[in-house]
Amino acid sequence: MLETYIRNRQKKKNLLLMTHIVMGYPSFDACHDIIDQMVAAGVDLMELQIPFSEPMADGPVILRANQTALERGATVVKCMAFAKEMAARYPIPFLFMTYANIPYKFGMAAFAKATADIHLTGAIVPDMPMEEGTEYIQAMQENLLSPIQMFSPSTSDVRMAQIASIASGFIYCLARKGVTGADTDFSDDLTQYLDRCRKAASVPLAVGFGIHDKADMDFLRGKADIAVIGSQTIRVAEDHGVNSVREFIQGLLPAA
């Protein structure tokens, strides 16, 4: 389902854009405004992060957003309600992003069912490698959801093939080592790595970590299917206000 949407959307533009927000940061109302602007600016799909107290894979920007959201009272129930409202209101696919403990405490089966009931299309859980994810992946598949799998530059060809065999929707390719938010070197190495990803997987490829601007987007065009922008939109909203998000997103896209 998610893959079909992506392929259809690609008939109009070759590189789609996925953005990321942390639900409850700076507030649920502000999140709503940001999503409204992102959708209006042409974002194709979105990650809605359920904040977690120990976001191991996230860099300082998203880490602090997680912490602040929790301090301001974000709960799993509130995030689910918010996600439900967004999915009903906007015509793009939304995915949850969170850490393993959130679905684990919720109950894997219950989490997958709730995610399907509120019409999200999948989830990204960075600390749930395929070896540990059997129950989670099965629960998601039973609900026709995409448990998004990941590649990293250090993933071997053999392992890429294993991961690809259980992938659905798209595969999230980490552009580099490290955590979210730091700079990425858009180089030949990245091109070669994306070639390896492409050979291993038939589903679309999303590339994230360190994408800041239009030049980065242009680099990825033709090499990947989806560009992911996470920390940078949070930075823009923090530095220039929520209302600057639309302009920032529009600046990333080719002139219409």
């Binding site: 191991m56 860099g59 540990e132 071997s156």
Partner: protein, 408 residues
């Protein structure tokens, strides 16, 4: 990633994809070290020559008389180089780092003992070293920060989250996912993703193996009970390892903080407040809320102030092969005072939890029964915290005078 390190339902390796090859490499280095008798021998002679092992098993005649119950023995990890059991794990991992050909080590630290041990190892082996330490712990344990820096390590105060041990672990992982090609993360306790719980236990088992041998030589029989404090669980796993197949009761003592009912504690196994969870790369009992957000923990001792616990101990708790108790801050201070006055031994605040747990039970035991307390570290590092806990007026005057000199 084949064997994922499960102990019952606990453990595993909940790793971001980027770290999978790094862990594959670590697992294979550890597996080959484990099956190579030469490696263990190299490790043991390093610990003998550099760290002063074996550490003594001291008969505490005065404490034994004081309680009038079981014979009390103390395993003296305080006499290990750097003043705690931490060196056992660190030197072992240092040998592995050399084997893997990496040049840089990073570590988290709570009380600072693991950080000091790691900085010491890095100095000895010629590695670059960065230590992550929660800002709150930097405040509590400034002397250890001073020593880490003198030993050549960079100490990074962690200002995120609750600013204690778990946050330092998160930050060390963030460093590792960026620098894993050159860097090994020397995790300090028997927690985290596989192979750390098993590997740290393997190195720390030197405590229990020695203790068993020493008590057999001395008494010609096994102890009835052994006590260890439990933060992450490495000193407990070390001591317990020597007695796993014996009819010996294994007792872990957690931080009861201001009392279990107060909610201000770090008792994951001995209270009903913790539940199954996945964080920091492994599955165990965590002190967390219903959503799965980790709670703030409390203890007078920075080293026990941790939300999770070794998956091996979690499993032993569930299948009842070990018993877990807690001791409050107040009980710990009393146990510390008594041990200093009666035996002339200064346990670390962490270790004093094991003493408090043993003191509670010793009087009810028979005179021919034997118990061993693991003194995981020495207490003089805690001089600021202990002086505060004892409310020592002369110490306060000294600090005020000293501060005035710096102002002048």
């Amino acid at each position: 990633m084949k064997h994922r390190g499960y102990y019952g339902g606990f453990g595993g390796a909940f790793l971001p994809e980027i770290l999978i090859p790094t862990f594959d490499e670590l697992v294979s280095a550890f597996e080959s070290a484990k099956t190579d008798p030469g490696f263990r021998k190299q490790y043991e002679s390093l610990m003998a020559e550099y760290s002063g092992r074996p550490t003594p098993l001291t008969f505490a005649a005065n404490l034994t008389r004081h309680f009038g119950g079981a014979k009390i023995y103390i395993k003296r990890e305080d006499l290990n180089h750097t003043g705690a059991h931490k060196a056992n794990n660190v030197m072992g991992q240092g040998l592995l780092v050399k084997k893997m050909g990496k040049q840089r080590v990073i570590a988290e630290t709570g009380a600072g003992q693991h950080g000091v041990a790691c900085a010491t190892m890095a100095a000895r082996f010629g590695f670059d070293c960065t230590i992550y330490m929660g800002e709150k712990d930097v405040m509590r344990q400034r002397p250890n920060v001073f020593w880490m820096e003198q030993l050549g390590a960079t100490v990074v105060p962690v200002t995120d989250g609750t600013k204690i041990l778990k946050d330092a672990i998160n930050q060390a992982f963030r460093d590792w996912v960026t620098n894993m090609d050159t860097t090994h993360y020397v995790l300090g306790t028997a927690c985290g993703p596989h192979p750390f719980p098993e590997m740290v236990t393997w190195f720390q088992s030197i405590i229990g193996i020695e203790a068993r041998q020493q008590i057999m030589e001395r008494e010609g029989r096994l102890p009835d009970r052994v006590y260890a404090c439990v933060g992450g669980g490495s000193n407990a796993m070390g001591l317990f390892s020597g007695f796993m197949d014996d009819p010996v009761e294994l007792v872990g003592v957690e931080a009861g903080g201001k009392g279990i009912d107060s909610g201000f504690h770090a008792a994951r196994l001995s209270s009903a407040d913790a539940s199954y969870g996945i964080a920091q790369g492994y599955k165990t009992f965590f002190l967390q809320n219903d959503d799965g957000q980790m709670k703030e923990t409390h203890s007078i001792s920075a080293g026990l102030d941790y939300v999770g616990v070794s998956p091996i101990l979690a499993h032993m708790h569930e299948n009842k092969t070990a018993r877990f108790e807690s001791a409050t801050d107040a009980e710990v201070v009393n146990a510390l005072k008594l041990t200093m006055k009666t035996e002339g031994i200064i346990p670390a605040l962490e270790s004093a939890h094991a003493f408090a747990g043993a003191f509670r039970e010793a009087p009810a035991l028979l005179r021919d029964q034997i118990l061993i307390i693991n003194q995981s570290g020495r207490g003089d590092k805690d001089i600021f915290t202990i002086a505060d806990a004892l409310n020592d007026a002369d110490w306060k005057t000294f600090i005020q005078t000293k501060a005035a000199q710096y102002h002048a």
